[in-house]
Amino acid sequence: MNPFEYQRAEDVATAVATVSGNENAAFLGGGTNLVDHLKLGVATPNLLVDVSGLPLDRVESLPDGGLRIGAAVRNSDAAADPRIRRDYPMLAEALLSGASAQVRNLATMGGNLLQRTRCVYFQDVTTPCNKRVPGSGCSALRGYHRYHAILGASEHCVAVHPSDLAVALVALDAVVQVSGPDGDRAVPVTDLYRLPGDAPERDTVLERGELITAIDLPVLPMAARSGYRKVRDRASYAFALVSVAAAVDLFDNGTIRDVRIAFGGVAHKPWRAYRAEDALRGRPTTAEAFDDAANAELRDARPLRDNVFKLRMARGALVAALQHLTGADR
């Protein structure tokens, strides 16, 4: 492991100034991804600024009735929060489906959002990877890629974003509060993540030194009827092959008034399924309507040699999630 200095951040402004002024500095949250990258040589900072102890560790009500989750709140505390469980169950379920209890007790909300892909080539410094070393090539394109993207990928990178939390947040239209060297800004989570294009080394639109300080959840009554469904190689403690976050609002006659859908495990970013949503508004809660929604979203999917199965898996996960939320599976 390369040597580095460690600093405990005194406040947000100082931490931002320190990291923005040193291109080899990095923020440290719970460390559950970054410390692994230090060991693997994937990350080689010369300075870590520990932001996990900043007073960003509360879940607070916003004046409009929404909820603000501090970036240093631990994943386990957010998942146990009674307001999140009641008003945004898909969010609690997404958090609880991620990692293990021991990891969730360490991992921060901000750190969860900024974790890096688990693509095996990204994590193996002996192999080419455009995300780790721009221009070196993509080993996954013709290599081991059953976990990889079926939507929005490029010839430069087919990695997927690993966060379950982020999938729920894009479905909920959540917004991250960001402090940076040029001041504060709010970034919708749907705009936070990038598709790889020809610059897969950039996961997000955040600039050097910008720090996520909070996640704001808007008022969304339909989120009370929401859930997160994750499909993986084993029942627990594994990353998603495919996941679905969904919320449904029904008219009195049982047809769909509104719906929120996002996929995980299918793209370089958590994938908000706007086409599927459009296809469902005004439709009855039938298997046919759910299937049409899956078709609409997956029309442009481009699976790789060894992940064609994700098409059926994404379709099945979406239909099952919607059937569960609308009671059609009872």
């Binding site: 580095f4 405990r8 410390v35 209890a101 021991q102 990891v103 007790n105 627990s236 403690y237």
Partner: protein, 167 residues
């Protein structure tokens, strides 16, 4: 970069100088000789390095020691009171909750932390989120203990042990 830190390990204050790169696991094992937490994968995938850090179960292989100056740590070695095993330890013996024993200190610390979480009403991925109280069914125990792998496959005994300890 070296830093002087104090760790309160199993009830004893321990002062140690660590390089910033030292994980909490390596500080405990290599610097302080506390061998209960085990190094399995060293990448956060097996749970054998689990301890209670300020009363919460955590893995120690992906944690920097320097970030936890002043922390209270309880390892499997520190759970017994005098000559009396912790109820979770006794339950693992009663139900053959291990074979080779390498994952056991992590399993036991994890179970102790898990029982506290369940008592506090924390849900798991298989819980009804609306329920205020947690009933530790075998399915709940399996999900909540999924961060601890046992390559001998003693899972049946581990689940039974934790059910006993939960009563």
């Amino acid at each position: 970069m070296d830093a002087e830190i104090t760790l309160h390990v199993d009830g004893t204050a321990r002062h140690v100088t660590v390089d910033a790169r030292t994980t909490l696991l390596d500080a405990l094992r290599e610097r302080l000789g506390v061998m209960a937490p085990k190094k399995g994968c060293d990448h956060g995938q097996c749970g054998s390095c689990t301890v209670l850090l300020n009363d919460r179960r955590v893995i120690t292989c992906l944690v920097l020691a320097v970030a936890h100056d002043g922390a209270r740590i309880v390892t499997a070695e520190g759970l017994a009171q005098d000559d009396h095993l912790h109820p979770v330890q006794q339950a693992f013996i009663d139900h053959d909750g291990f074979q080779c024993g390498y994952c056991t200190p992590g399993q036991i610390c994890s179970a102790v932390g898990m029982l506290k979480e369940a008592e506090a009403g924390w849900p798991s991925a298989v819980s009804d989120l609306a329920a205020a109280e947690v009933r530790l069914s075998p399915a709940e125990i399996r999900e909540r203990m999924s961060g601890n792998l046992c390559r001998c496959g003693a899972y049946a005994g581990i689940v039974a042990a934790i059910q006993q300890a939960a009563r």
